[in-house]
Symmetry: C2
Subunit: 129 residues, 2 copies
DNA sequence: TTATCTGCAAAGTATTTGCATAATG
DNA sequence: CATTATGCAAATACTTTGCAGATAA
């Protein structure tokens, strides 16, 4: 049903390398930079297909959709500098616990969540390099 | 700074009538249907202004942004049923506290966050109407 | 009066789709 | 070889912006 093409393999490999959520545009750019010829439309179609099969995670951010290869590793959150992109991986599961509590309290099931922090890192805050 | 124009009043009134989250397009359509002449661009600009002042809540759904008048002025989060759109406003500021803590810990400033929970409400979970 | 707001249309993004060609299983 | 995927460009969907004229305070 889903054929393994050069492009599909390239997208999967890229997503494995970059553990983070990336937009279709970023993925296309990275692949092109690596010398992998691939159309933007194909990137979109491939990502859509991979998401349907559950190979990758989808996250809506601002106005765009981002994708990441699913890992068994526990999900976590990020603190991102909105100027330079510096990213800190956060620990702690208080949101996860809150989610569970909310599910019980409101009769919801399969409760998922998205959480992200953004700010200015120390360097960028003081005029940064 | 923000002038009360006929259009602004109309948007506010509509949002008060319809308690649920509505997209700019839906709002524009409803107003036009009511005989209120207003440009789509104005709807967007007005909604943006109202959101900045905290008069309305913003929620990103699929590819579009939706708005709803909120009773509670303080910023808060939502638990949304991904099938029927039922929305519960959440209370508690544990994420806000966490954000403050993270800022200190990592030397970030102006830390903002986005958090949203989605799941299936009781009704939809059992096959719902 | 004058700073702000409005409408329109044009410009931007992000994403999807039609179709002829290429490549997979 | 029969499908399914690809690339391109054109098409969509949503949102923002430039600007001249209108309007609230």
């Amino acid at each position: 049903m889903q054929r393994m093409t050069r492009q599909r393999a390239a997208v999967l490999e890229l997503l494995s390398d970059q553990g983070e959520f990336r937009s279709a545009h970023q993925i296309h750019e990275s692949l092109t930079a690596r010398g992998q010829a691939i159309g933007l439309a194909t990137v979109y179609r491939t990502l859509q297909g991979l998401a349907e099969v559950g190979e990758i995670d989808v996250l809506r951010r601002d106005g765009e959709t981002t994708f990441r290869r699913c890992e068994r590793r526990a999900h976590h959150h990020h603190l991102v500098c909105r100027q330079c992109g510096l990213t800190v991986e956060l620990q702690g599961d208080l949101v996860e616990r809150w989610a569970r509590e909310l599910a019980d309290l409101n009769g919801f099931v399969e409760v998922e969540h998205t959480l992200e922090f953004s700010g200015l890192c120390a360097n960028c805050a003081k005029g940064g390099s």
